[in-house]
């Protein structure tokens, strides 16, 4: 390679490296702001803001969804598989809201530590399969569970 070209190549490599490093440091320092939601553990440990709106993400615990009144009020428990938070929401839930699925709720904590959601979004997971496959997977896990003592 001719010296002039080699020099240009080095300059470009340095420029890309520099821009990359600068961005990496910037992202690292803003890491918390880039999180779209708090986990249930954050809330239980008191890392989530009190008396302010924030987003809470987690998985809806199977069998925890209940409708206490006649209206649109729903109550369910969210988990990140270590800590749980109870959520109350009044309104229409998105199509993908299911027990055992991830959701992101926007709202605030009340004094009892219950999360009062103003908006509930479903978080889709990355799995795609035909209904028959999902059905047979479910049956398999059921028979496996049945075999366990």
């Amino acid at each position: 390679m001719k010296p002039a070209r080699r020099q240009r190549l080095m300059l470009i490599a340095l420029m890309v490296l520099g821009a990359g490093l600068a961005t990496a440091f910037a992202l690292k320092s803003f890491n918390d702001n880039l999180m779209y939601f708090f986990s249930t553990t954050d809330v239980v440990e008191g890392k989530a803001p009190r008396d302010a709106l924030f987003r809470l993400g987690g998985m809806v615990i199977k069998g925890s969804v209940e409708r206490p009144g006649d209206g649109l009020m729903v109550r369910f428990k969210l988990t990140d598989f270590s800590k749980d938070v109870t959520v109350e929401y009044t309104g229409i839930l998105p199509d993908l809201f299911r027990e055992g699925q991830g959701i992101v709720a926007h709202g605030r904590l009340n004094r009892q530590g219950v999360f009062i959601a103003e908006e509930v979004l479903a978080k889709h997971d990355e799995n795609y399969m035909p209904p028959e496959v999902a059905g047979s997977l479910k049956n398999k896990s059921k028979t496996l569970a049945g075999q366990l003592p």
Binding site: R5, R8, L9, I12, M15, V16, A19, G20, T23, L27, N31, L34, M35, Y36, F37, S39, G57, L93, P94, D95, L96, R98, Q101, V104, E119, V120, L121, A122, K123, H124, D125, E126, N127, Y128, M129, P130, P131, E132, V133, A134, G135
Partner: protein, 254 residues
């Protein structure tokens, strides 16, 4: 360069000469078009008709056959654009500059399609058109980078100078590419994690995966066709005073 066979090096050297590039792409075009039609029809038939509905989303998931390949292309084309731009900067090869700028509108189009289809899917599935999470925001920045490249190129009269400026902008913007790809792993996002492009086994059933890969190939072929057509036009515009263009025009008129 000692790792690449001589014939390949010679092929690229010849391709970098404008008249040869122009003639070669003209011959290539019908083959590309035929392959594109074939793969697209197969992919659409497989994706919209043969593939089974999803266990959660029913038929709504079929938007992945447009959304996911577009999103992949938006990243892929950007990388091609930046590499071509760097080659143009270092070796001052005119054709690399042309490939870089010809890629930008195609990439911007795919980015726009990815954003719009994602939004249309997001409303019924997530419950919202748009959220400012890391994945969606970084993809929007990618669209602005593409538009910046197109705008900057148009704003500078001397196209060789414009190509240099555009290449530098594209190269600095490359930092956004890993951010987009890993955004769903580094931060909590509403957008789901990767289904296919990960080290693990794809989390999609094979009957749904095959049409998706066909559509990805189809979009790549489309990019090649659209980019080469743009490159040919741009080449003629830049070389309008050169001998080979004059000879070609005279020959065509006779």
């Amino acid at each position: 360069m000692f790792l690449i066979p001589d014939s390949v090096v010679r092929f690229f050297h010849r391709l970098a000469s404008p008249p040869h590039f122009y003639a070669f792409t003209e011959q290539l075009m019908p083959w590309l078009a035929a392959a594109f039609l074939l793969v697209t029809l197969a992919g659409l038939y497989g994706g919209l008709y043969l593939a089974p509905p999803d266990y959660q989303q029913g038929d709504s998931y079929r938007i992945i056959y447009i959304h996911v390949p577009s999103a992949w292309m938006s990243l892929f084309i950007y990388v091609i654009m930046a590499i071509a731009g760097a080659i143009g900067l270092i070796w001052r090869i005119k054709l690399a500059e042309i490939v870089a700028i010809s890629s930008a509108p195609v990439g911007a189009g795919f980015t726009f399609i990815a954003l719009v289809t994602g939004s249309l899917w997001g409303k019924p599935m997530w419950g919202t058109w748009w959220v400012w999470d890391a994945r969606l925001t970084s993809e929007l920045i990618l669209l602005f980078l593409y538009l910046g490249v197109i705008g900057l190129y148009g704003a500078i009269e001397d196209k060789r100078v414009a190509s240099k400026a555009v290449a530098i902008l594209a190269l600095v913007g490359v930092v956004n590419i890993p951010i987009i790809h890993y955004s769903v792993e580094w931060w909590n996002t509403l957008h789901q994690g990767p289904t296919v492009t990960k080290m693990d086994k794809p989390s999609i059933h094979v009957t749904m995966l095959v049409p998706l890969l066909l559509m990805a190939l189809s979009f790549k072929l489309y990019y090649l066709i659209a980019m080469l057509q743009r490159a040919r036009t741009e080449l003629l515009r830049r070389e309008r005073n050169s001998q080979w263009v004059r000879t070609m025009v005279v020959e065509n008129e006779q």
